[in-house]
């Protein structure tokens, strides 16, 4: 994701080089980015509050963090042509586990955070085993996990929120609301760091390379001697770590682990990924795109709130944005293939 900036000679017949490769994947991003800027301009004109540091960083970015983190992990899964529906309730489950580790079991909050993130990896691992080893369709496997995680979150919390004690584990809440850098919530900082890590893993590691290869042509990848079963499990498990982190971040923000908050987050995260130009057919996608996608959703939600548009209408508009962004991509691909 080193180069996703200017210029695009997309329609001509010259083969894309490494640079234009990113542009190719990046063109949808470019549209998305342009869309993001456009929306921000509109909201800036509509509301004087919108384009202020407090609103943009304190409200909008802060509220993107959880969905954005989930979307980062899901980007990997979707690039393999899979899907993960379990990230929403999985996140709630991981939040509950963080609460259990820290409050119920009294572990140091730092250890609780690490364990909760690893627990997310475990959830992902199970998804991976179901998909790669048991050969269940990803939709079914992760739908089952979505329900199971929802139930487990309630069971393991006795269906009541687990509050984190601010006295003994105050650092935990600081993870979200503290300001290591003045006027920037730590949650935003955490998101930036993990987004960079996700980008490096996707573009610079073997895991990332095989993520693209799996989604591009799984059979060819297998014939080339890559152990596709093992790597697919690894992708789901890796994505699960982000679910775990999202659970930690949401618990830290709320100061408690709420067992029933997860449902619906998975679709917002998937929407962010799709708006960011990652193809549900696999093989194509990027972390930059996903971050832009998450920002678009956040900006729309935030801006419409400022304009006092009711929540119901915000969802309708979000639906239209998803359709529009993917339709533009479809049109572009059709144009490209008919030359």
């Amino acid at each position: 994701m080193s180069t996703t900036t200017t210029g695009q000679n997309e329609t001509d017949q010259r083969p894309a080089t490494g640079m234009t490769r990113h542009l190719r994947a990046g063109l949808q991003q470019l549209f998305a980015f342009a869309g993001l800027i456009l929306i921000m301009i509109v909201f800036s004109l509509a509301s004087p509050v919108f384009f202020t540091w407090g609103n943009l960083v304190g409200n909008m970015l802060f509220s993107t963090v959880v969905i954005g983190t989930l979307a980062l992990g899901t980007t990997f899964v979707i690039i393999t042509a899979g899907i993960d529906l379990s990230i929403g309730t999985g996140m709630a489950l991981c939040a509950v586990m963080a609460g259990n580790f820290i409050t119920t079991m009294g572990l140091p909050w730092q250890l609780g955070v690490v364990l909760a993130i690893l627990f997310g990896g475990l959830v992902g691992l199970v998804n991976g085993l179901l998909v790669a080893l048991a050969k269940l369709p990803p939709f079914i496997a992760t739908l089952a996990m979505m329900m199971a995680a929802d139930g487990l979150a309630l069971v393991l919390s006795n269906s009541t929120p687990i509050y984190i004690d601010a006295e003994t584990a105050g650092g935990f809440m600081q993870l979200s609301t503290g300001t290591l850098i003045p006027r920037v919530p730590n949650a935003v900082l955490v998101f930036v760091v993990v987004a960079v890590i996700a980008g490096i893993v996707l573009n610079r590691t073997i895991l990332g390379r095989y993520t693209y290869a799996l989604g591009s042509n799984e059979e060819a990848t297998a014939i080339s001697g890559v152990n596709v079963t093992r790597w697919k499990i690894a992708v789901y498990a890796f994505a699960g770590l982000f679910t775990g982190l999202a659970g930690v971040l949401i618990a830290a923000r709320l100061g408690s682990a709420q067992p029933a908050i997860g449902m619906g987050y998975e679709l917002q995260a998937i929407a962010a990924v799709v708006i960011g130009g990652t193809s549900l057919m696999g093989g194509r996608g990027s972390i930059v795109g996903t971050v832009i996608g998450a920002l678009i959703i956040a900006v729309i939600n935030n801006g419409l709130q400022l304009m006092s548009v009711p929540q119901e209408w915000q969802n309708v508009i979000l639906g239209a944005v998803i359709v529009a962004s993917v339709y533009i991509d479809t049109l572009r691909k059709r144009a490209a293939s008919s030359t």
Binding site: P15, R21, I206, R209, Y212, A213, S224
Partner: protein, 511 residues
């Protein structure tokens, strides 16, 4: 000289088919051995045995004097056999370099990819092979010819490759690209390596191969030295089976009126200037090799694929057919070779399938389906076509292939189609039932239906077709009247490159 790769007495059977029987093959170091045979002669089974995808029922394989028993494509590669399949095994979203080194990419610290080293090594490889490719190009954006080169580079990136097997490597290449490929092959050949080159294109075989091995119906036929043979001889060995001439086309006569005229039909990808005429009460055979474009012609005519130019006239009136429903309105029915996917609703009944296409016109009143009408029609069709089914309510899935085919025919007859396009009408139908289908086709033609019969089986074409349209690479390479329709003539036209040198044609003897 000892062979580099040798096969002795290799057999492989599948339920109902003996794909290979007592096959043998010798490849000597330093040579290009061409392997030729008709569709279904056993070439791809042989390939899959060599790449370890199948294991043989019997027989021995030796590579460089050692027993050769690959457990899979990767293992075969490690042992020194590189295979380039007809359909590419590439990842379109990755770069050239990423594709070539997938599974063994240079790493740093165990987990990080080293793209600099990757592109460097790829550039060196491409340079050594003399291929004009950018290691960082995305494979999906390359032309088919360049993708083919990526496949070749991938197969040759392992310098220990001793035998390179290429399955129809030029199927998608133009003449200049074919020449480049041949140069590449010549560069690869050393006193310690060999190439098995599978192709139908006779002119290419002459240009590149040292010897030609002919196989037919899963058996070894002969091996000839290319320089000492004619292509006509090779063709006659390929098709040389005995044909039962006691049964032939029926009611062949001149002077029938045309019902379907196709002129200059082209599509984006394959078809170029396809013209032919189908006449009333005629069975028009469509012959050609796999990928020649016969099915594509049918699909273009019925509007399943868009056409880029050309006209279609039905009963002398020019029509536009943008989608299959419109083809039905003009009385054209297409019977796909894949009946289970495109022809039938497998878990519905015989009667439901027969009525499917005509539900709206014939079997509804006020929006409700008239089951009694359907049942009547179905009973009538079951009787007249001789469909063997316990009842019209029987689920189609439980019928034999031959009877399923008859149900599809019944569907189009119910729809009042008088132009029927059969794509491989007897595929998957056992021998006894084939005769019934043949009889039925003859009856339909005699009753005035006009039939296009696409078939890959030459005996079937010769037995049924009044005239034969032969296709090669998306074009019509010839139309043969019944008296000139012989295996040799058809195969010659089918293996013709449309733009090939006339010498190849004249070599096959006087027409």
């Amino acid at each position: 000289m000892t062979p580099l790769l040798s096969l002795e007495g290799v057999s492989k059977g599948f339920p109902g088919v003996q794909a290979l029987a007592d096959m043998h093959l010798q490849v000597y170091p330093g040579e290009v051995l061409a392997l030729v045979g008709e569709n279904g002669a056993g070439k791809s089974t042989l390939m899959k045995l060599l790449s370890g995808i199948y294991t043989p029922d019997s027989g021995t394989f030796e590579l460089d004097g050692q027993p050769y028993r690959p457990t899979g494509p990767k293992h075969a590669e490690e042992l020194g056999i590189g295979i380039i399949h007809q359909e590419f095994h590439l990842m379109p979203d990755l770069t050239v370099a990423q594709n070539i080194f997938i599974g063994r990419e240079p790493r740093r610290a165990g987990i990080f990819t080293d793209d600099r080293a990757l592109n460097q090594q790829t550039a060196e490889l491409l340079d050594r092979l003399g291929l004009d490719l950018d290691p960082r190009s995305i494979v999906g954006t390359l032309t088919v010819a360049k993708q083919q080169m990526v496949e070749i580079a991938k197969a040759l990136s392992d310098e220990s490759t001793k035998v390179l097997i290429m399955d129809e490597p030029t199927a998608a290449l133009n003449n200049a690209e074919v020449a480049t490929l041949h140069q590449l092959i010549r560069r690869f050949i050393t006193p310690h390596t060999a190439v098995i080159y599978i192709s139908h294109r006779m002119d290419e075989l002459r240009a590149i191969s040292d010897r030609i091995t002919v196989i037919r119906d899963g058996r070894y036929i002969d091996t000839v030295t290319t320089a000492q043979t004619t292509m006509a001889e090779v063709i006659s060995r390929m098709v040389g089976r005995e044909i039962d001439t006691s049964v032939g086309p029926q009611n062949v006569r001149e002077g029938r009126e045309p019902v379907l005229s196709v002129t200059g039909l082209s599509t984006k990808h394959l078809l170029r200037d396809v013209s032919f005429e189908l006449r009333k009460g005629e069975i028009l055979g469509f012959a050609g090799l796999m990928g020649a474009g016969r099915t594509e012609v049918a699909r273009a005519i019925v509007g399943a694929d868009p056409i880029t130019s050309g006209t279609i006239a039905v009963h002398g009136r020019q029509v536009r057919i943008p989608h299959p429903a419109r083809a039905n309105e003009h009385g054209i029915g297409y019977l796909s070779e894949d009946r289970k996917r495109y022809g039938l609703l497998l878990n519905l009944s015989v009667a439901d399938n027969i009525a499917l296409s005509s539900l709206r016109e014939k079997f509804t009143s006020a929006g409700f389906v008239r089951s009694t009408g359907i049942a009547e029609e179905a009973r009538e069709k079951v009787r007249s076509l001789g469909i063997r089914t316990p009842s019209t309510g029987q689920v189609v899935n439980h019928l034999s292939g031959g009877n399923q085919q008859k149900v599809v025919i019944a569907k189009w007859l119910t729809k009042d189609c008088d132009i029927l396009i059969f794509d491989e009408p007897t595929r998957g139908i056992d021998v006894g039932a084939k005769d019934e289908i043949y009889t039925l086709l003859n009856q339909l033609a005699a009753a005035g239906k006009s039939i296009i019969m696409i078939s890959s089986e030459l005996p079937e074409v010769l037995r049924m077709a009044h005239r034969v349209v032969v296709m090669s690479e998306g074009r019509v390479s010839g139309v043969l009247d019944q008296d000139r329709a012989t295996q040799e003539n058809i195969m010659e036209l089918a293996t013709l490159r449309p733009d090939s040198e006339p010498s190849v044609i004249s070599e096959a003897g006087p027409q």
